[in-house]
Amino acid sequence: MHTKLSHQELAFQEDVRVFMRENFTPELAEKIAHPATFKSATIEWQKRLDSRGWAANGWPEEHGGGAWSATQKYIYCNELAAVGAPDVIPMGIKMLGPVLYSYGSEEQKQKFLPATKSSDMWWCQGYSEVGAGSDLAALKTRAVRDGDDYIVNGAKIWTTYAQYADWIFCLVKTSDEGRPQGCISFLLIDMKTPGISVSPIISIDEEHHLNEVHFENVRIPVGNRIGEENQGWTYAKALLTYERTAIAGVAYCKHTLEKVRKLASQGGEESLSLLDDVDFQARLADVEIEFMALEFLELRVLSSIDNGEAPGMESSLLKLKGSEVQQLVQTLLWDIAGSSGGMVPDMHDAKALWECQGNVARREYMFGRAATIYGGSNEVQRNIIAKYALGL
């Protein structure tokens, strides 16, 4: 048992470090942080990562991926976190990618994998519906066969970044026979197809990340279906385990904890910094210690994937713990900001206002409440663990 890095790994670490320093410039960071420039700057950043073959680092080599080991992913995420750089937006590369190369046809792989990898195709995920959240199989958006097409009608909700997306991957109902899970197909839909409309949902962080996507007689070629008709649930389930692994947010927590420590060392009451206060220290220590365990849990999961074991129970555990620790960290961040954590500058206000710690803390805290809800709510994850790990 050891965590020592080999010479090659140390060289890789240095390589990533230099790249981050040269490419994640303050100008780019600022553009990514601002809603008005978020999309173009994110694509630019992801293209830079892809130029080194790092964007799709988990994909197999035959599809242009890096086929990285657990150690490499760990090193990479740490270096990202060290400069506060974001990892790729997960929907395309991390969530859909594995479904495409595992279950897609040759034609689909050729059409979608390279464009997804290069960030020329921005994906969003069409799963949840008004009546189908945790009970995803209750979804009602329907695809009816008409010759070589499906006609899709219905609506998806909580669709993150649908306003930016070129394509959406959707679960749709294609049958009424038998268990609901056996009635679902997995479709890839071009967002420019006539009959699709997107309406924004403003979330409690006062921002526009979420949307409702409506489908009205949308005609989709049957060739855009992944795998067999009515087998979509199986593919989606496989995808969900990847989603859970991807959303633990370990690197994000590490970076934010660093920020908390830095902020806490700057100001406080009676000429002492907050970090000198033993009560605050104890509170921060509790969160840091949970984080240290989370960080190792992720290593355990990554290394079991390396050993050829599919991420199963551990991915639920990682999602649960990761989202809980994220919220603990965001709560600390907000508390440090004091009342300025309540400020809601308009995105067109002065840059200084937008970038001020209070605003950052408020946005991260508020949007962070979603972490225990999406990707299968934490209550559902607990149900899964109770059933599959504890036999209850």
């Binding site: 965590t3 509790d286 365990a293 109770a386 504890l390």
Partner: protein
């Protein structure tokens, strides 16, 4: 990076687990506790015959040459079965102090008898005022000719039947200095050592000792005079990891036993394990155990890698074990209902053992202070 067990380690784990499964039932443990020694001498001999007592020690000293991972494997199985024999206090703690000391003649004489199970030593680390600080020592050792005269008081010395006791004492320095601490091997049954023996709630037999001017030869000093603290500190760090491995074993047993119980216990005509409110609590017990296991692995890696973060990682581990260990055991009692309250079921014994584990060598509050000191006051 590698977290897999070696073939050898898998074999060690299997053999310890199998032995305990076959022989170490809850009733067996109750019977042992009825014996005055506080543990089974027969079991101890078996442990020796199976080679377990040699695991942490170097091959050149006649040991198995194991590392902290190997020791933790044994400790985790011991924790799962609530083994009462003094493996931790006698082998991991006191044994390692002797094995890593530089008093070669003492080592040469003593190590074979420790590994064969003939002799047992205990380390008296706690003083009435020390509140977990190993350097807060008031016991004194005054040199007179070739001997030292030891005076002081030690509390909760584990394994009251040990043949000898390792007593840290001040040969120089003031109350909390890390310099000037020496470590002496003292005959536990020698004249002038006043012993008050009692039982601890986890079943162990412990004692408070007092001594005023007992004479100890300088040949029985483990390091050069006044230089024992680094040795103590290093051995204690590893012993804490091993102790936490025992806790993880106990926690692992508890969440599984609780799930088993809730699967079979029926109320309102159904197994209570079908209730979601209970399911989620058991899941949280499982998660707490896995969080602790992650930190256990982290601390082991730190030691094996020779990292500069050993102290921080060990402190973090002890904090989490103290917090989650007791919580998991309290939940186990609650979910077992009345049966959790009965001494007939071992559930309460796990709670008591986990509470005592928290208390040994610094509880969660102490280690959180240490963690804060290392992390925020540097």
């Amino acid at each position: 990076m590698n977290f897999s067990m070696t073939e050898e380690q898998l074999m060690l784990k299997d053999s310890v687990a199998k032995y305990l499964q076959d022989t170490y039932s809850a009733e067996h443990r109750v019977n042992i506790l009825k014996q005055t020694r506080g543990y089974s001498a027969e079991n101890w001999q078996t442990f020796a015959d199976l080679g377990w007592l040699t695991v942490p020690f170097a091959e050149e000293d006649g040991g198995f040459g194991g590392n902290i991972s190997d020791v933790s494997i044994i400790m985790e199985e011991f924790g799962s079965a609530l083994v009462i024999e003094p493996f931790w206090s006698g082998v991991v703690l006191a044994g390692q102090l002797i094995a890593r000391s530089n008093n070669d003649s003492l080592k040469k004489h003593l190590m074979p008898t420790l590994m064969s199970g003939e002799q047992l030593v205990s380390f008296a680390f706690l003083e009435p005022q020390s509140v977990f600080m190993l350097n807060h020592l008031t016991t004194t050792a005054t040199k007179v000719g070739d001997n030292y005269l030891l005076s002081g008081e030690k509390r909760v010395v584990l394994n009251a039947t040990a043949d000898s006791i390792l007593i840290p004492a001040r040969t120089a320095g003031d109350g909390s200095s890390e310099q000037g601490i020496s470590l002496f091997l003292v005959d536990a049954n020698g004249p002038g050592l006043q012993r008050d023996v009692y039982r601890l709630m986890d079943g162990q037999l412990a004692m408070d000792i007092r001594f005023d001017g007992i004479q100890v030869s300088s040949a029985r000093m483990l390091t050069a005079e006044g230089e024992a603290f680094p040795l103590i500190s290093e051995v204690v760090s590893e012993a804490l990891v091993a102790l936490c491995a025992e806790a993880v074993g106990a926690m692992n047993h508890l969440y599984k036993a609780t799930a088993d119980y809730c699967r079979t216990r029926e109320q309102f005509g159904v197994a209570i394990g079908t209730f979601q409110a209970l399911q989620h609590r058991i899941v949280d017990m499982f998660m707490a155990t896995e969080q602790c296991r992650s930190l256990l692995m982290r601390a082991q890696c730190s030691i094996l890698d020779g990292s500069s973060d050993i102290q921080r990682d060990v402190a973090a581990l002890k904090v989490m074990i103290g917090k989650h260990g007791r919580h998991v055991a309290e939940e186990a009692v609650q979910l077992h209902g009345g049966m959790g309250m009965s001494n007939e079921m071992p559930i309460g014994i796990y709670l008591k053992r986990l509470m005592m584990i928290d208390s040994y060598l610094g509880n969660k509050d102490h280690h959180r202070r240490q963690f804060c000191k290392l992390r925020y006051c540097a």
